[in-house]
Amino acid sequence: MTRLTPIIVLLFFASVPWWLTDQYLLHTLITTGIFILAAMSLNLLLGYTGQLSLGHVAFFGIGAYTSALTALGFDVELFGLFRVVHEPWPPVLGLLFGTLVAALCGFVIGKLSFRVRGAYFVIVTISFAEVTRLVSLNWVELTQGPLALPGIPPLTIGFPGLGYMTLWEKTENYYVVLAFIVLAYILIKRLVNSRFGRAMIALKGNESLATSVGIDVTRYLVIAAIVSAGMAGCAGALYAHYIQIIDPMIFMFLNTVTMVIMVITGGKGTLAGPLVGGLIFGLAPVVLRSYVGPEIQWILYGLLMIVVVFVLPQGIVPAIEQWFNRTKAEPLREPSVAGKGERA
């Protein structure tokens, strides 16, 4: 893949609102984009450190609820002792707090569960997601439970002196989501190509060797969990302000599964994997819906996933890379400092 590929892809997606007239499709692109953001965060944990978080939707949902409640304000009684009253704040602060609170949860979950890894981490994350779902369902005073939190204000962005813009239109939301994906992509790229990323890849590859060269495995797993959870929380916050209504259904296990499918089919441990997998499996239901009935649609979705996993077990992106390298028949590269250690 050339250096230009990401820029060409970005230009293409930046041009979409100019020629796409179907507002529903644009809406699907926005929600898919938000899920891609969450899948990218999951990829940091699953693809680079090898830890599977099956409760990733918890961080997404926490980000959504935190941001929504920051923007809407709340008035709750704690333990029947004292009241906590919060006046509505600007949605941008909600986005910030949603990210921070989710990152904090990532820190706690990481600290708690990375002493025993692998299957235990999977179980802890599933349980955590279920607990957060139950809290959102039952703490009616705060979350209104199954009645949902309606009327979440859309994001207002801008700088003092430059003016402000409230994101009422789909096109505006589309560009904001696109910008967040670009930011997340750059962040993850820099992270995995640094000593942080190398430590993560090292502990996934050979843990005892990693510790013996002085890598504090737990520390880097926790760092990955914090960044990953924060990013998922940010995606959740974007979702809340775009959809403008959230309910406990946001914590559905299906949402985690969707993220995992996006990462695995696209290619875990690659930068572009969640983008490719996310686009395919985010848009597939909508595209299929216009041709076949709802029952057939999900059967085809499942078949598509099975075919991808069977034919390309490493994922779509690694397969394309291999094919690209083979057809190009790259000559033996003279070892040069530049370009070493880059992970496409």
């Binding site: 962040l187 820099r190 992270l191 640094s194 000593r195 942080f196 190398r198 430590a199 890849i201 090292a202 590859g205 050979n206 005892s208 060797l209 990693a210 510790t211 013996s212 060269v213 002085g214 890598i215 504090d216 495995v217 760092i223 590269r333 070892p335 400092v337 070493k340 250690g341």
Partner: protein
């Protein structure tokens, strides 16, 4: 128990690493019953013994992978009891592994970069923002990685995957990884096993280069000509206890050692 040969008296170097009456039990199995020896600064000591004598267990105890049941290990005045492997590495005591141990799916160059983990500290925020300080530090790391590859002599393999290297070069890469941490003491677990004589010869020259830097070396090895040729002192383990200790010439002729290696019958033969 035969008293260990009193070779410690010949030791003029300050003590770098001391293993003090270490015992390791796995349930009822005694892997090491009582191990007591020291390694001086800059010294090359070989730990030998038949298979199952407890050599690798000793390595695991020294580097924090195992906790001793009794006794303690002290490196440069710091007791290592309870330290995790990465904390032992921080003190400058670094090991290689018996079986080839490299990051298979990363390039040789990336492998060494991973080994350089502790050399340069770049903050998380500086990394994400790609501050000039982090870019500079990263460039410096790459420079150091080349130096280490050249020292070990596998720079022509830099862009190949660690797992695709021939066996001998994988072992060299394992040593490169350990060297990347800038160790003051290096523990090598059977570094030349599976190497041909030429490769072994090259490895001995590499060891000499490493020693020139003042690095202390503790070696576990079965290649006796090599061990006897390069060691300052040899420590012999059998059945989890120390049976001899001293310069190669003394240990080679120790009857207890000969019996351990050749078996009981050799004495009467």
């Amino acid at each position: 128990m035969n008293a260990p040969v009193a070779a410690t008296a010949a030791l003029e170097r300050p003590v770098a690493l001391s293993i003090e009456h270490v015992a390791v039990h796995f349930g009822g199995l005694v892997a090491i019953s009582d191990l007591h020896f020291t390694v001086g600064e800059g010294e090359l000591v070989s730990l030998i013994g038949p298979n199952g004598a407890g050599k690798t267990t000793a390595f695991n105890v020294i580097t924090g992978f195992l906790r001793p049941t009794k006794g303690k290990v002290v490196y440069r005045g710091t007791p290592l009891t309870g330290l995790k492997p990465h904390e032992v590495t921080k003190l400058g005591l670094v090991r290689t592994f018996q079986r080839t141990s490299v990051f298979d799916s990363c390039t040789v160059f990336e492998n060494v970069l991973m080994g350089l983990h502790r050399r340069v500290h770049i903050g998380l925020v500086a990394t994400i923002l790609a501050l000039p300080s982090s870019t500079r530090a990263e460039a410096e790391l790459r420079e150091q990685a080349w130096d280490i590859l050249r020292l070990v002599g596998i720079e022509h393999r830099a862009s190949e995957l660690g797992g695709s290297l021939p066996y001998g070069e994988q072992r060299l890469l394992g040593v490169a990884l350990a060297l990347a941490t800038n160790p003051s003491a290096l523990l090598l677990d059977e570094p030349v096993s599976g190497m041909n004589p030429t490769e072994t010869g090259n490895f001995v020259r590499l060891l000499a280069k490493i020693r020139e830097r003042g690095t202390t070396i503790l070696l576990v090895e079965h290649d006796m000509p090599m061990v006897m040729g390069i060691s300052d002192r040899v420590v012999v383990l059998n059945n989890g206890r120390l049976i001899a200790e001293g310069p190669p010439s003394v240990v080679q002729n120790d009857p207890e050692v000969i019996r351990a290696y050749l078996g009981q019958g050799a004495k009467s033969a």
